[in-house]
Symmetry: C2
Subunit: 274 residues, 2 copies
Amino acid sequence: MSGRPVFFVSDQTGVTAETMGHSLLTQFEGLEFRAATLPFVSSVDKAHEALRRIRAAGEESGLRPIVFGTLVQDDVREVFKAGGDILFLDFFGSFVGAMERELGSVSTHSSGRAHGIADSAAYATRIDATNYALANDDGSAGDYARADVVLVGVSRSGKTPTCLYLAMQYGIYAANYPLTEEDLESTRLPPSLQAHRAKLFGLRIAPSRLQQIRQERRAGSRYASAAQVAFETRAAESLFQRHGVPNLDTTECSIEEIAARILEATGIERRVRP
Amino acid sequence: MSGRPVFFVSDQTGVTAETMGHSLLTQFEGLEFRAATLPFVSSVDKAHEALRRIRAAGEESGLRPIVFGTLVQDDVREVFKAGGDILFLDFFGSFVGAMERELGSVSTHSSGRAHGIADSAAYATRIDATNYALANDDGSAGDYARADVVLVGVSRSGKTPTCLYLAMQYGIYAANYPLTEEDLESTRLPPSLQAHRAKLFGLRIAPSRLQQIRQERRAGSRYASAAQVAFETRAAESLFQRHGVPNLDTTECSIEEIAARILEATGIERRVRP
């Protein structure tokens, strides 16, 4: 194992530190990093323990460790600021001061506000939306009256992970409906969707990419054949056009991008923020 | 609608800007914010358009907008830096310089690195892990040989959302097994779990909280009765103790916290970073 040691240090789960750190590290191409997360560093003692581990990694590798810290307590942060041979990127320290001046208000400097259960209504919404997505996956329950959005597409176009992501990240109620061969041969909208036309959003995917995904699942099957994939992708696109269903090509998109683009295109409000 | 206008502005999905902004805003209690995400602001033209929207919200509310920006392109960032009556919290601007000096390397200043599909192996892992979690939810497929971890607990102790989160966020293969009444009356481990003892992790929950959750699902049922809930939670705890299954009380934990604590306790490596 080589590469510069990188640590995501947090007094809570480390999700914010990981997200911000990863964002910055991806800006440096061709360099190797060796990353570890140190969560729940919520006291001066734990900070010293974390710092010992960080310094040991620095000595072992011969490279100065980079530490991405989301630490709200001043005394815990001081341990890393005075931590010697590390680069400490202090997330709260960099922004909280400007926010306090702007808001004319002192921050609580207490941990566990984000990603905690503190906001229990928001938390319950995310769990409920996740259960909804599971129950309404692949057209199963078909409870579209409660849906914020119904994703429509052929098998393996990204519907299920996108619904789960919308639920867990934003508390959005997302159902999905897989277009069957019968649906694709018809010129009408599938009967169960007709009353919910305004909620529909189509996911498209390039035939070559779809074929590759399906081959990985069922090599040599009709399901994964070039002819079948070409028919399904073309018919799905016609269906979206015919019925004016807004849609998106997901071929080059990650789940986060699909979700963000759906929210942007539809104007659906996030029920919860991460 | 009142409250200070807050914008999460990004040249990509906005996930990082939302996460960092939310983390900071939760430090200010008792203040009201009106938040919106402006994703895919990837050109100077789009930056001016976003800025017009931000300024309009400022004028409407009479309060200076706060803008959390994750913008890697210098020219796009300049638009907001020169944006006048806004508080621009410049995420990349604050940290990239120090990282460039430390690493002796110039950052790419190109967007779409994080949360993109750029790292397609990592992306495929997350999707595969999500499909694995869905297939191995609630003891269904029982393909524990592939699991990184098998969560064990009574119905509604948080197993399913935690497995999905571990998969989507970290690419971890997490299965779950719901303890049945038969399992809870036995002194032995459930037969299908015996060969996978080292992978087991137990989720506990306080009886009062579990009863509340079950009442919301099936009010007045035996499933939601105080006696049943007391029996199940006690029996699950005995089972964990008897067989040395590491476990966690999830009563006060969010899904992110449960996931982070499982990783911390088990030492399972993240396969992917957010």
